[in-house]
């Protein structure tokens, strides 16, 4: 039996669930609402928006991703789907990574695209908004991988969303530092500094997160099943 079949099936199922039950849509709406609140909170001075806008957009992305992590594995654990996955004919490691990939495709990518709109709303130039979206594109896979591990570890805990937040935010710190740093530098250019070093470090963080997920996500999910 070809191994691609169960993987594609799992991907399709997760993506369909995310878009049909509104998980993806709700996180987008939450993100936009947070962005809308920023000018109310800090005033509309364009120079100020250029300085703090990219950072706040990054934080809003983080919060929107956090909201979706709790149900990533908890719903499947409660429905008994994880037991089926353990017994599935495909490699369990690839199946759990497919869940992390589905999370990125359903949550991370739409947020990245919407961030361009959010950046323009806050008065960033198109170049700065595109640079911000690029940093999100590089960083959100790492957010999905790290978040998946934390979501798997807290899947069995009742009302575990607060605990999940405590676990995952320290691990998200490097992503915010480098990603928001690169985006802010792109919005407020100070030559000869370029955002490139920060973006490279952000990519390294995402790769490290993916590697960690490769190694530890299967154990984390399996530990919830027996």
């Amino acid at each position: 039996m070809s191994h691609a079949h169960p993987l594609i099936a799992l991907l399709k199922r997760d993506l369909t669930l995310a878009f049909r039950t509104g998980g993806a849509g709700l996180s987008l709406a939450f993100f936009l609402l947070v962005i809308v609140l920023l000018p109310f909170a800090a005033g509309t001075d364009p120079a100020l928006m250029r300085r703090i806008g990219p950072g706040v957009i990054w934080i809003a992305v983080l919060l929107a991703v956090l909201l979706t992590l709790e149900r990533l594995f908890q719903a499947d654990l409660e429905a008994g789907v994880l037991d089926l996955l353990v017994a599935a004919p495909a490699a369990f490691e690839l199946l759990v990574l497919a869940k992390a990939l589905a999370h990125w495709l359903a949550i991370g990518v739409p947020l990245t695209v919407l961030a361009i709109v959010a950046g323009l709303m806050l008065g960033l130039s198109l170049d700065a908004a595109l640079a911000l979206a690029f940093t999100l594109f590089v960083g959100t896979p790492g957010l999905s991988c790290t978040g998946a591990i934390a979501g798997a570890l807290t899947a069995g805990v009742r009302r575990g969303s607060l605990l999940l937040t405590l676990l995952v935010l320290p691990l998200y710190a490097p992503f915010v530092i480098f990603g928001a740093g690169a985006a802010t530098l792109a919005a407020n250019p100070t030559p000869p500094e370029t955002p490139l070093p920060a973006i490279l470090l952000l990519g390294a963080c995402s790769l490290a997160a993916a590697l960690t997920a490769l190694l530890l996500l299967p154990s984390a999910v399996k530990s919830q099943v027996d």
């Binding site: 605990l163 405590l166 320290p170 530990s223």
Partner: protein
């Protein structure tokens, strides 16, 4: 090392070691504290405030080291199912958290007179703060899962995820322009601290380490006894509980 995996042998060995470790801790603090706080020279720039160094530096050295030990125990239990490793990992977590808190608090108290600020967001301070939150997360995760075996596995996996912070803490002062100073002890060319300050510092580091070792052995012994009581109370009821209590009184 393999004999330590046997709980009975561990209890015997730790019973023999504990009085010596406790004695070493007391002696080291008794020698180190007066030397550090009273008899060592004031710094030519920082005058008396430099004495925070003798409280701050040992805690700051041990905090990531304790995490490394915790991660090694977590790895041993997760991969090789070493019998006492999960107890060691569980015991080390609160100790490391307290050490990190001491390092952060004394660092802030030292920063105000030295740098003019209680806190700066430089790489070393930020990564140690992240370590503190990782410690809290490991403790919280273990406490929130009821099944003990599942709780141990989950917190061990989380411990391994957090290991990435350790090299970041260590190399942060070299990778970035930070306010926090670089290594003065473990450098090519030897320590850059003068002898009259170096020796009290070494004694305090020894004292902190002996304290952590003593506390660790004591806590592990208590946890082993508690597990035995729990398992025997479940099977035989209160008579077993009384027998255990008498045996270890």
């Amino acid at each position: 090392m393999l004999t330590l995996a046997n709980p009975a042998k561990f209890m015997a060995l730790s019973a023999r070691l504990l009085p010596w470790l406790l004695g070493l801790t007391v002696v080291a603090f008794a020698a180190g504290l007066p030397l550090a706080l009273v008899f060592s020279p004031p710094d030519y720039q920082q005058s008396e405030a430099v004495r925070i160094l003798y409280i701050h530096v040992p805690a700051a050295i041990l905090a990531p080291l304790v995490y490394a030990g915790m991660a090694a125990a977590a790895f041993s239990h997760l991969v090789w199912r070493a019998p006492l490793a999960d107890i060691a990992a569980e015991a080390l977590a609160p100790m490391g958290a307290v050490l990190t808190a001491i390092a952060l608090a004394t660092g802030m108290l030292w920063g105000k007179p030295m740098w003019g600020a209680f806190w700066v967001w430089d790489a070393r301070l930020t990564s140690v703060l992240v370590l503190f939150f990782i410690y809290l997360g490991v403790i919280a995760l273990r406490q929130s899962i009821e099944d003990q075996a599942k709780a141990a596995r989950a917190s061990e996996i989380l411990t391994l995820v957090g290991v990435i912070d350790l090299p970041i803490i260590h190399f942060s002062v070299y990778w970035w322009n930070t306010l926090h100073q670089r290594s003065s002890l473990f450098r090519a060319g030897g320590p850059s601290i003068y002898g009259s300050m170096l020796w009290p510092l070494f004694i305090m580091i020894l004292a902190y380490t002996a304290l952590v070792a003593t506390a660790l052995l004591l806590r592990m012994r208590t946890m082993i006894i508690r597990r035995r009581i729990k398992s025997s109370a479940g099977r035989e009821g209160s008579r077993a509980v009384v027998r255990e209590a008498d045996a270890h009184a």
